[in-house]
Symmetry: C2
Subunit: 249 residues, 2 copies
DNA sequence: CGGTCCCTTGACAGCCGTCAACTACCGTGG
DNA sequence: CCACGGTAGTTGACGGCTGTCAAGGGACCG
């Protein structure tokens, strides 16, 4: 079971937080809450990021679009995930953040974040960890669209999302909620929607997935991983940083 | 003209460094120097990163390989670029670092880096900036292989490399050194070497590039950018952080 | 001068995109 | 209760972009 606060549960995958740390994180998240409906742009390319956003419930994504309309989804955000640490440093967004489902998220201002990072070293460390993992995921996505076939690519994306859902306690057995449209899968994999459809059919035919009514079931995760050439190392779930024990400071 | 130390010139694109900052950086880089010949793996997937590496001269890259040998180059490193800030946090490499040319680089240990980050806030800020820009570049690459056609994709990669070479003062007019093989371009763009060859021919036929003898010339950069749907914003060269003036602290 | 690496070119195939029509599903309203 | 409209998913036909295979050419080097 996840804690009520998905950011805390997430960072605890990396460091052991003290009660102080947790209280600071609770405050951080409760200051400015937002809700938006599905399929709304939250922060657009070209705008200046003012706040760090943290997904509390629902799914979001970031994407870039070319002038002629082609669109690439670059990341999916699940509960607990952070968007655009850019706020610290970069002047303008080079991509767009957008909700995929009904979404609730917290906003954290630059000042609030600076307060936390200068007083809570373990939290700072954990935010770094999260950033580096996000980079690793982005690299894997580049590999995914660059080298894998359509079938492998789709299998890989489904594996990643399932494993990430599992890590935040949002799976029930072999199944999890799965709100993406086939057109989202197309934009994320660089395939056409028609070919996404065919690829999903093929995965179904091989009994690798059951996907309908916004629910994904993976009867045999190992088999799907094999079909995807999925190597989980890039998610860095090893809980390494648990060495950073709150009681050890 | 660049400073003798490419790391300093790079970070100065973002912050104004004090003489103290510069001395610290000089020391950092001079401690452990290395030279390797072209096409050597420096740090392999699965190994534990012990030090941060900084390219001083030559080109390097990072790549991931699938079990069956397919290979994706994920980034190119030019003089002044940093490899694997991972050293701080992640337990094992999820990709491989490799030299492309004769390469000289400096190694920075965890201790040295921590000393610098706790005593030189402007340097810390500049390292963050560099990390966020690297993420932005990785996103653009995902877009590149996911959405652009072969011609656009190749044009985009050549644009990026030329602009980055220009930013570090390594261009002479319209030309710059260009040590990549067509097979490197293939691995970076997700195309076959044969198709890379054809795509280069096409770019030559349109007078967009001259590429031979390890030298790239771009007669009309604007035209190449247009063919590539190249939007420079993702490189975040705006020198925004110059607000972080060394004399303002 | 032979060897090796890299680049180039042609022929052919296949994966995947495009176009278009059709079905399924769902919420709304008469 | 059924009609209706809109969105999402499905399927077929066809074409083209890009991969594969294979052979040849050029540059550099021992």
């Amino acid at each position: 079971m996840a804690t009520a606060n998905p950011l805390i549960s997430k960072l605890e995958r990396f460091v052991r937080l003290s009660t102080d740390d947790k209280r600071a994180l609770e405050e951080l998240v409760q200051r400015k809450l937002h809700r938006v409906t599905a399929r709304m742009d939250i922060l657009r390319e070209g705008e200046r990021p003012e706040t760090l956003k943290i997904v509390l419930s629902g799914w979001a994504c970031r994407y870039k679009a070319l002038e002629d309309g082609r669109r690439q989804i670059l990341s999916f955000f699940l509960p607990g995930d952070l968007c655009d640490l850019n706020v610290f440093i970069l002047r303008e967004m080079d991509h767009t953040l957008s909700s995929l489902t009904m979404l609730s998220y917290a906003e954290i201002t630059r000042d609030m974040l600076e307060h936390v990072t200068s007083n809570y070293p373990r939290i700072t460390q954990a935010l770094w960890w999260d950033t580096l993992v996000a980079m690793a995921v982005q690299r894997e996505w580049t590999l995914n669209v660059g080298q894998r076939t359509a079938l492998e690519r789709m299998a890989h994306l489904l594996c990643e999302l399932f494993v990430r859902m599992e890590a935040i306690g949002h799976t029930q057995g072999n199944s999890c909620e799965f709100p993406l449209l086939q057109s989202d899968l197309a934009d994320a994999t660089g395939l056409s929607t028609v070919h996404v459809n065919r690829t999903l059919q093929e995965l179904r035919a091989q009994n690798l997935i059951v996907l309908r009514a916004k629910e994904l079931t993976i009867p045999d995760l190992e088999a799907l991983k094999e079909a995807a050439l999925f190597n989980i190392n890039y998610l860095h779930l090893e809980h390494e940083g648990r060495a950073l024990d709150a009681n050890a400071t």
